[in-house]
Point group: C3
Chain length 307, copies 3
């Protein structure tokens, strides 16, 4: 299935509907039922070259929920290609998280090389450096669909570190497949959205605007997507980091202007960019979003292994 | 089930009998039988903020023995509350080990908060700092019942680090529910039993006595419970540590005065506070005690998930 | 089953045939079939005192492929004997990897000690320091049988670090059970094959020869077994290491003189002692060898637990 690998750009809305419908079914899989054993005897190799507790956990839980097993590994001091070719021999599907952009593509090529043109062990890209994070984008889009009931005619505010966040980059690419979406980019100066994404939106004919005023943006959004400002991006510039991270906080003041039908999303973990007081608001969708990650990953694994 | 959380003080002898009877059944669960699949499709999240090989292993083995799956995680750089709320979404039961006293209560509150008053993912406290270690106390009491055939009318000698050992603290609380138990506390000066436990025993009307002479105590005990003296409690005072750790060793000399029907217990791992020569003595119950840990944890998981 | 423990010297060719026939069957076990559930409810404890990604992964995958579960542990700050006795209580089979030669024997003794002469939890030696690595030797011999169709009348070239590689040492011992095998030892001076192995081959009446010229050796070999030169064996002598590691590289030039029916093996991971250009050659057997490791370990676990 082409949509397991690469950058997320290869998905069509039709293919996404298949996945999302499967994810809907996954939400009702109960222990002890035949549905909970469909991946009985299958092995997922979880290959994480950089830590990512949440992504790893939800993939492992997804596999277990469907009766499969998980083996976990880390860098064995050899090339990525050799690791992938070996892990392939011990498993039915590989989930790869790597620190270097493009690793998922290189790994997929190593698999293909070995097997010639025939089918081979599917590889799921669980994030490769600042590159892409397609399974996160899938669960994000699925969450919007579930929260709002539609994926067209949306106003989406992206807030925080838009330069380095692979999450928001993958999300914009994926939402670019739909119709009439307007984006607001609300980011501190040092971590503004990069030009490639803006050019992509221009190409697909979608509106985007950079904005400074979180309150003004929030009052117009259907989706307010917050991200974490990561200290390590700022090097020695500790003051820059402190001002950047404190600049756009979602708290009850922001929630007061957010439309009633809107939702607040965040890939988690958060530091303090969403105040805990917001958690009780029904529009706070970020924990539901994390749970959707489980359902999407169950659906991905099932479709990849059984179809 | 209330007895999964908190401090162990909420258990009644009646509730404990239910658990112990279930644990008795667990000892005969064999691979490949329907009994070994009752937790088929259930997921336990093993959340250890400090290492504890033995406790973690026995919980994981317990889950596997009943057909369930395990996902393992560690600190993800967010608050305990956010971690718990996320892990909850991916699992059916959470086992938490934390370095800070009271963490289990805070974690349970986070679960409750999210779900309102309804039922939520059960949380098992696998030790929170110097606080409590209720599942260890459960297996300890179960071991006494199995070794001696009774839980009333006992003389129990607690030996070693009584100030910092959460194991012995939880055990005393739990034994305080029964009748006519006399405690001897045999500890080096720097790690004597703390006042809160003594006051608790006074309240429930149980006898206790501090003693120096391990031989004299051993000659009167039904249960001789040894613990490890941990070096890190002594900081720079290396000499104090050396004299404390060498002071109370259980060896064949002590075994010679211990009554024939008595048993020797230890939560393990041991350093040298029980001489290896004791292992062959039928009264050496510490490896049976470790195995009882498996049965108690199987019973806990089964009762929590299926009832 | 005696062949699970110890040094690999206790195997007979007849016993190996039983194992290899079982391994042949393991290659066709498919998810969702009854064959994939024969170890349903069994627990393997994976006890690695030194890292070994590949060995650990293939044992864990083997257990999962047959429906079993895995618990993983590491040094808990107690004696190996106490660890083994405890892990035994939580599992049905133990896989031990240790840095110290002879550990597997000591561990097996601890199990036997506890249980007297009766049967006890089987222990598989997954490598003990510079000592032995019997399960690797088993998969190596199995690979030769599969690649060449025979285990007698062979010329085997062992290349690289022959002094420290437990892999090649165990392999020579095992091949010593067969008939008419000639060995070439091709190693840099500082890591030449040790005398005990040479004496063993003299005893069993097998020919061996030390050689410098890899091309000359390759032109006569049925099996060319390359190993990695490990930097840590050379201490401060960085230049010695650099010259040793660069001395014997298998590349297309070597492949050009290797007989058409021969095969190239390597326990992996490799650094650069086999050039990637060789991978596409049908005689490059090292990834098939790694997969045979899965089948051999499935067979080992099945025979140990069910017979």
């Amino acid at each position: 299935m082409g949509w397991a690998r690469g950058t997320g750009q290869q998905f069509t809305p039709e293919l996404l509907e298949v996945l999302f419908d499967e994810a809907d079914l996954m939400a009702s899989v109960k222990p002890g039922t035949p549905e909970s054993r469909v991946l009985d005897g299958y092995i997922m190799a979880s290959l994480f070259y950089e830590p990512s507790t949440r992504t790893r956990l939800s993939f492992e839980a997804a596999m277990c929920r469907l009766g499969g097993s998980v083996i976990t590994t880390e860098n064995a001091g050899e090339t990525l290609e050799d690791s992938i070719r070996t892990v392939e021999l011990y498993s039915d599907v590989i989930v790869l998280r790597h620190f270097a952009s493009g690793s998922a593509g290189a790994a997929a090529a190593a698999l293909g090389e070995r097997d010639g043109d025939g089918p081979h062990t599917p590889l799921i890209n669980a994030g490769d450096g600042p590159g892409q994070h397609p399974s996160q984008a899938l669960l994000d889009v699925y969450t919007i669909r579930k929260e709002l009931g539609r994926l067209d005619n949306l106003t989406v505010g992206l807030v925080g570190d838009l330069a380095n966040g692979r999450t928001v980059r993958s999300l914009v690419y994926l939402l670019g497949k739909y119709t009439n979406i307007k984006f607001y980019f609300v980011a501190p100066d040092v971590v503004r959205m990069k030009d490639d994404i803006k050019e992509y939106l221009d190409e697909v004919g979608m509106e985007w605007e950079e904005a400074d005023d979180l309150m003004a943006v929030a009052s117009q959004c259907d989706v307010l997507y917050q991200t974490r400002i990561q200290k390590e991006r700022f090097g020695d510039r500790v003051e820059d980091y402190e001002s950047a991270r404190g600049k756009y906080i979602i708290d009850n003041e922001v929630m007061a202007v957010l439309p009633q039908e809107a939702c607040v999303m965040h890939p988690l973990p958060r530091v303090d960019e969403i105040a805990p007081e917001v958690d009780a608001d029904p529009r706070a969708a970020y924990f539901r979003q994390a749970q959707n990650g489980l359902f999407i990953r169950m659906a991905l694994l099932k479709l990849l292994l059984l179809s």
